[in-house]
């Protein structure tokens, strides 16, 4: 049965469905509804909600709860995520599974509270110190806000690694039908956790390896996980790519605009195709190469000055021209703007 639900609220519903009963966070527009929904709902299912004194404290509460074996999450927006980077690095180093939501807003600095997609670099490329990766999922609808939250918890446990849900203010603030089906989602055992019990007494959760050889071995171990994840966890969506001449690539809210633009182009007989990464890390390289096999041009659209486009270019390796169109500051490209970009590309090719 469908319910009309806000994207931010759907995240909390997905989390509860996934068995998460621990939320630590700090309010920030446009992510505050996540904390508000968690404050309202978590305690009603026996869970914990705690408003921390800062995002720095929040991510370390997440670290502590994860170390003690909880399925745990936090959420914020760009400025808060900047503060959390230290803790995210520690979580990755100590191999603690946790889910961190970033509802992106305009930056740098205080920027504004309008939607942007400008945290791609900081979330996908790391942001904190050290050799680590975040797994990053990019929902584009309210339904995906819930579904990918469930997946985020599963991936976090599978790889004992922080998993980021990277959405923007539009997807966080919009309402759409949400269809949730109740099911028991098994939470894996965490024999490594420290729970204050005789069985877990010998366990140590830490990220310090003072000897260079020890730290290098640890980094190799992390790297092996990342290689495994990049082989099997890539997810993406395509639409009209079979005979496309121009391939439009975007994630999150930008992909919604691109979907409309491709539909319109097809109605007008123009051969445009659509590619949407759902995992931003690992980046779905093979799927993109497959989708781009017969196209003569790629247009990447983001609500940024061009961040994901770098991964598209790394994937394409110069075989096809990859162009970029972006809007920032809280402006979103309209279907008309994207359509005229497609027209320009088709004309350039003719």
């Amino acid at each position: 049965m469908r319910q009309l639900c806000k994207g931010n609220v759907a995240i909390v519903k997905g989390a509860i469905l996934a068995g998460c009963r621990s939320y630590y966070g700090y309010p920030i527009t446009p992510a505050s509804e996540i904390a508000e929904a968690a404050a309202l709902l978590m305690p009603q299912v026996g869970g914990t909600f705690l408003q921390a004194e800062s995002e720095v404290a929040a991510i370390n509460m997440v670290y502590g709860a994860a170390a003690a074996g909880a399925r745990v999450m936090t959420a914020s927006s760009g400025p808060g995520l900047s503060l959390m980077q230290e803790g995210i690095s520690y979580c990755a180093g100590a191999e603690l599974p946790c889910v961190i939501v970033d509802i992106m807003r305009g930056g740098p600095g205080l920027g504004n509270i309008a939607p942007e997609q400008s945290d791609y670099f900081s979330m996908v490329k790391g942001g904190g110190h050290g050799c680590y990766r975040n797994l990053v999922l990019a929902p584009a609808s309210v339904q995906e806000m819930a579904d990918l939250t469930v997946l985020a918890f599963e991936l976090a446990d599978r790889y004992r690694n922080p998993t980021i849900l990277l959405a923007d203010g539009f997807v966080g603030q919009m309402m759409e039908p949400l269809d949730l089906e109740y099911r028991e989602i098994p939470i894996p055992e965490r024999p490594w956790a420290v729970k204050g019990t005789p069985e877990t007494r010998k366990n140590v959760v830490n990220s310090i390896f003072l000897e260079p050889d020890d730290l290098e071995a640890h980094i190799r171990k992390l790297e092996a996980k990342y290689i495994r994840a990049s082989q099997i966890e890539c997810r993406s969506e395509t639409f009209h790519t079979e005979d496309a001449e121009v391939l439009l690539v975007g994630y999150g809210i930008a992909s919604r605009v691109l979907h409309s633009a491709v539909e319109r182009a097809r109605r007008d007989g123009l051969r445009a195709g659509f590619f949407r990464p759902i995992t931003l890390w690992p980046f779905p390289k093979q799927a993109l190469l497959d989708a781009a096999q017969n196209v003569s041009r790629i247009l990447v659209v983001e609500l940024s000055n061009g961040q994901m486009v770098e991964d598209v270019r790394l994937t394409i390796e110069g075989r096809i021209p990859v162009d970029f169109y972006g809007r920032t500051g809280g402006n979103a490209p309209s279907v008309e703007e994207v359509y005229s970009q497609v027209m320009q590309h088709l004309m350039a090719m003719a």
Binding site: M1, V56, A57, N60, A70, V205, A332, E336
Partner: protein
């Protein structure tokens, strides 16, 4: 302190002879310490360092109180970062200053565990000031041992927030000056001013008498946690001979003669169990909380798609904050969903929510909705003049504008769209609530476009509005909007019915 070759050779000699620890050692310590290679009976701490004594007092208390299996020891950044090499309990290492936040997450996850946050002065009183104050103020049921030696030990003797006036360190080479670095921070006193902490004491590892007092304080603090009473905090004045460049005896003397006058030893707080209000929150099933309902358990006006649905209808609603702009959009969206359409609603948000203008985008479609942003609306519902002026030009050719006034402003010509002027606020006023103007406009929209069924609107209102009189007003306003439209002649003027 580095082990020179002579000491190392001695150590090997001892090991070769099958060295056994002859003095008693708490079972809460590991049998051997792996931190320093061959010297498995030695810690990494310097001779005369207070950490060894503090560790011993804690380990003995844990063993004596029978808490070893339940304990989770949180080690900080500082010399005690390697505490997990010594304490045979669950161990979690945390970032610099963040131990009380991490301990909070641990304790909230494992309320039965004994959670110890062991921190130095740089960790607790400088970089982690916010975390310690707030953990204390929340009354987290954890125990904090705060080892104050007036310097940063591990990084080589820089100034700490507890460095004393005039004290020379590598970053206060002329001695700490109040004019430049402020005054020493008295953490025990500061924590004791808060309401929640239950037990706060300062002790010193200066001589045997004070060490025995420290022993008692450590036990008391752990008992407070064991009994679930609340937050306990023990500040331990501790010698750091290496950084202070003193021998162990001189260093202890320095604690007694220099530190204690600055940091007086006292029990600052020892509250008997004072019950803190703890209201139980009603519990519901996951399905209930997530609003997951079985398909045959839906008391809604479920209606099949009807012939009036356009393939796509993109609507913008705009007006002043407080006119129910966002709510009107949500109602349309909910109605569309109940009629089986794909729908989306996107608000303008942020400061605009609290004053000034508000608008939202609504998409109703037979197909998957691409962009939820409505840049070329088929329908504009303008609840005030600024919204009309701002968005009218965006309306798609042949689109519809519903304007909340009897007439368009005289200077405004909108030949590209069909304009319906409806004095909705006025109509709603006469019904007794000007706040229902949005419902009048909804009624008019349904009547003008047949995009969705009025019965669906009433169904949604019935499930969303709990107050009976509010529901009556809103339904009356909805009907009034429809009736107004019925009386509107095609050229946009009104046939007054008398």
């Amino acid at each position: 302190m580095a082990i020179d070759s002579k000491t190392s050779a001695k150590a090997l000699e001892i090991l070769a002879a099958g060295y056994q620890v002859s003095h008693s050692k708490s079972p809460a310590f590991y049998d051997t310490y792996e931190r320093k290679g061959d010297c498995k009976h030695q810690t990494h701490y310097c001779p005369g360092c207070g950490h060894g004594v503090a560790h011993k007092l804690i380990a003995e208390a844990l063993a004596d109180l029978g808490l070893q299996d339940k304990t989770i020891f949180v080690s900080p950044v500082g010399c005690s970062v390697f505490a997990y090499y010594y304490f045979d309990v669950g161990n979690v290492q945390l970032a610099h200053g963040r131990a009380p936040a991490g301990a909070t997450g641990i304790k909230r996850t494992c309320p039965e565990a004994i959670v110890i946050s062991y921190q130095g002065d740089g960790d607790l009183a400088a970089i982690g000031t916010a975390e310690i104050i707030h953990a204390a103020n929340r009354g987290e049921k954890i125990t904090v041992f705060f080892v104050n030696n007036a310097v940063y030990g591990m990084t080589g003797g820089q100034m700490a927030p507890t460095t004393m006036l005039g004290q020379k360190t590598t970053t206060s080479p002329w001695g700490r000056r109040a004019s430049n670095e402020g005054f020493p921070l008295h953490m025990a006193e500061l924590i004791a001013t808060l309401e929640a902490p239950v037990y706060v004491e300062r002790v010193a590892l200066s001589d045997n008498k004070n060490i025995m007092k420290a022993r008692k304080a450590v036990r008391r603090a752990l008992e407070v946690q064991r009994d679930g009473i609340g937050f306990s905090f023990v500040e331990i004045l501790s010698p750091c001979p290496t950084i202070w460049a003193k021998d162990p005896v001189q260093a202890r003397k320095w604690v007694a003669e220099k530190m204690i006058p600055e940091y007086p030893l006292a029990v600052f707080k020892d509250k008997a169990h004072e019950a803190i209000e703890n209201r139980a929150i009603p519990q519901r099933s996951v399905q209930d909380v997530l609003e997951i309902r079985a398909k045959d358990d839906v008391p809604l006006t479920e209606l099949p798609k009807h012939s009036h649905h356009a393939e796509d209808l993109r609507i913008k609603v705009a007006g002043f904050g407080g006119q129910g702009v966002l709510l009107l959009g949500q109602l349309l969206t909910e109605m569309g969903m109940r009629e089986g359409l794909e729908v989306s609603w996107l608000p303008s948000y942020g400061p605009e929510m609290r004053s000034g203008s508000a608008n939202c985008h609504v998409c109703l479609s037979q197909r998957r909705i691409g962009t939820p942003l409505v840049t070329r609306p088929d329908v504009l519902i303008a609840m005030n003049e600024p919204s009309l002026r701002k968005f009218a030009a965006q309306v798609a050719p042949g689109g519809l504008i519903l304007y909340n006034q009897e007439h368009l402003p005289q200077d405004l010509h909108l030949p590209h769209a069909r304009v319906l002027c409806i004095p909705a606020s006025e109509i709603a006023d006469k019904l007794g609530s000007s706040k229902a103007a949005n419902m009048v406009l909804l009624g008019a929209l349904l009547e003008a476009t047949h995009c969705l069924l009025p019965a669906t609107a009433e169904g949604v209102l019935t499930t969303k509005i709990k107050k009976a009189d509010m529901l009556t007003w809103n339904c009356a306003a909805l009907r009034a909007g429809r009736e107004f439209m019925d009386n509107l002649t095609p050229d946009g003027t009104i046939t007054r019915a008398h």
